[in-house]
Symmetry: C2
Subunit: 446 residues, 2 copies
């Protein structure tokens, strides 16, 4: 049973007649153009196939069109890549993109199109390139998802978009479109998926075909077209947990905000200061140029970068509380919140028992060391020494240590060219990012 | 072989002819007086016995005279206590003291005297009161310690005094006089004890009579008069470790300072401020009236008090570095050094996994709590919440918490009557204690 709210959401997100007509026309035109150009260029291919959510009729309004050009499996890999791209470029103008192999992304008649070369294989477990299994997914969903249930998928997708867990890509580490479709096939409807999810536990194994897989994954959903594959492999604990929680919140109090959350409101200078003062903590920022790499390279790297900054602060004693990144205008801004921006100079360091063999080395190391403020002395039978911290101001510390940190290959390269460390005052010049950083509400709670 | 240094030390610490003559005369006079008074009072006793270091001729100059009045083992306990004290009081003026049972402490002809009632038992393992084994120790040492070795004991005692590990009492938790004597009997001389000690490890079991005891003790020395007893039971890891280290330091570079250390020099205001600033840490103090209890009650309690203050600071997040106590003029001053005297208001608190059963309780607890600054939110699949710390200034915190802390019975009672918490400024008014607190050198390094 769809509620009035859900019916209203569906109306907003389902492609209208005009879009559907435009897509049909476009698909016909592009398929013909591939055929003509292939003939001209002497390129041998098997067929042109619409795949993805448009083919499955589970697409949200404005979704990219995924058009696959299927090559015979005996096409050598290099030829497959070169001819695939050559053919695509002859069909439309566009930008060359690269996942596992190159494809073309362009805009035709107001629709974003991905023209992707693929191998036509007979069994998805025998794939030759990363995308070869997509047509099997498309076929499975077309066969197993009822017409009415397609709209349930659209609702689920929009819900996941709203709570920011939609998409298997590295930025989100959430639910792929295919996974949402399988969930609706499994449970029947948007609401039934949510009801089930509100009781999920980590490690759950779902399947349409029986069998089970033991994997260390938040969720396992066995691919019905390839029993050895987990469709939910990309799902992080974070997205899994967020979906579980959002599902039970929605069931307890449905609202449009789950599907279409308000953006974080940007606080004014006074409000920002008040929010920071109320926390009584220290804030710093790190700015560098956004590396020019694809998303699937950038996002894992920037996550690693944030984690490294946190760990480094932790290891030095600056109890970090939060860290996050923001992208803006070709720059990346990493914001860190710490319990304190300044540490004591002195730091107690524990050594071996006085009677232990290591005592001699410990005494030799620290007796003459310039880093020692006092000691070595004995406490309850153990050697102790009070050392001088080199790093007591976080802003200076970060400045000095960033060039030596392992932040990921491409970020390291950008940082080598230059970076900026922001103190709390300079951070105030980024009110939008700082407001978002300070906002710990769920999107639907704003 | 005694060095010139050691010979010089011995000359300073060994009682001179005058003291020895005075002691002999005094012992005779007191013994006679006990006999006369006992007759007068109709008190039945077995004998008067000089025990302790004077009897063993291992005494340092100025040592108290220990005179035991031995009662027959069939004396009822109450009669033993009452008559013992009555007899002692008739012999000399003095102050009633209490260990396991009462005894009298007084000064006669410039000598400090302890007049102690004791049972005359035939076997130290069958003792009726705590001091009954003392005569056996006295006898054992008199028989087994050569005349020359007595001076070795005196050197060892003075060495241990200088490095502050001499005495089994609660303040020191060090080596008893009897233990120093046994060590010299075991190893032969002051120097040989040090040579052995520089290689000691915790858990070592020493014996003159064979056998061994498995005890969790820094050192085990089986009592030659009672094989079930560890003479070193009171020795702490701290004193054990300090002696090991001092022994090897002395052997590497002998100096008078081991026997007679310089006192800690009291720093002036400027020097104190400089020393504190160099550490970049925070200092606070707690002052209360010295409870009127015997040392063996007070010292364990004040150690517990210091430990409690440290643990409490730790549990609140104020990384404590050092804490120690000082006694002055009927007051006790506990000094604490912390990495910081102020914490961030915000504190991150980790909850259960989102999918865990406890999530519901966690959300219920924190959703409406006034202690929450932000959240609950999800981080990597776990519930988190940013809480407001009640305690962010250490001085205020300590003021508020001291009355609730378990600092030991008698200290709790004093604190209930009143206490004072000192901030760094007020601590400066205790330059002697603060100087000692800041000095982490060994006594012989001053």
């Amino acid at each position: 049973m769809r509620t009035e709210l859900e019916a209203g959401i569906l109306e907003r997100v389902k492609p209208d007649l005009q879009e559907r007509t435009r897509l049909r026309t476009l698909i016909r035109a592009l398929s013909r153009k591939v055929k003509d150009k292939a003939q001209e260029l002497g390129i041998r291919y098997e067929e042109v196939l619409v795949v993805g959510s448009i083919a499955k009729e589970t697409n949200l309004a404005g979704t990219d069109l995924d058009l696959f050009v299927l090559f015979p499996p005996d096409t050598p890999r290099q030829e497959f890549e070169e001819q695939g791209l050559l053919l695509a470029k002859s069909v439309m103008d566009g930008e060359e993109r690269f996942a596992e192999h190159p494809y073309l992304h362009g805009e035709v008649d107001g629709v974003e199109v991905d023209l992707v070369p693929s191998y036509k294989v007979l069994d998805p477990s025998k794939k030759l390139s990363a995308v070869d299994r997509t047509p099997f997914h498309t076929e499975f969903v077309r066969k197993n998802l009822s017409e009415k249930a397609r709209d349930e998928v659209r609702l689920l997708k929009q819900f996941m978009k709203g709570i920011d867990v939609y998409g298997a890509e590295a930025r989100v580490e959430g639910f792929s479109g295919y996974l949402t479709e399988l969930l609706v096939i499994k449970y029947g409807s948007f609401r039934e998926v949510l009801e089930a999810a509100s009781g999920w536990e980590r490690g759950l194994c779902l399947s349409l075909t029986g069998g089970s897989l033991k994997l260390d994954s938040a969720l396992v959903f066995i691919d019905p077209t390839d029993a050895g594959r987990n469709v939910a492999a990309a799902l992080s604990d974070e997205s899994f947990g967020r979906f579980i929680h959002a599902a039970s919140c929605y069931l307890a109090g449905p609202s449009e905000k789950f599907f279409f959350p308000e953006p974080v409101s940007t606080l004014g200078e006074k409000e920002l200061r008040a929010a920071m003062d109320a926390r009584g903590s220290f804030f710093a920022g790190l700015v560098f140029t956004h590396p020019d790499v694809v998303d699937d390279v950038f996002y894992p790297q920037v996550n690693k970068c944030v984690k490294t900054v946190m760990r480094d602060a932790q290891s030095l004693g600056f109890s970090p509380i939060h860290a996050d990144y923001f992208e803006d205008d070709g720059k990346v801004l990493v914001v860190v919140e710490l319990e304190s921006g300044q540490l004591s100079t002195v730091k107690k360091h524990r050594g071996p028992w006085v009677w232990h063999d290591n005592s001699k080395d410990f005494l030799e190391k620290y007796r003459e060391s310039v880093k020692v403020i006092s000691g070595p002395y004995i406490q309850k039978g153990r050697w102790m020494v009070d050392l001088r911290r080199d790093e007591i101001w976080y802003v200076d510390t970060l400045k000095g240590r960033v060039p030596e940190m392992n932040l990921g290959k491409n970020i390291n390269e950008e940082v080598a060219k230059g970076f900026e460390v922001l103190d709390p005052g300079s951070l105030m010049e980024h009110p939008m990012e700082l407001s978002a950083f300070l906002d710990h509400n769920f999107p639907w709670e704003r």
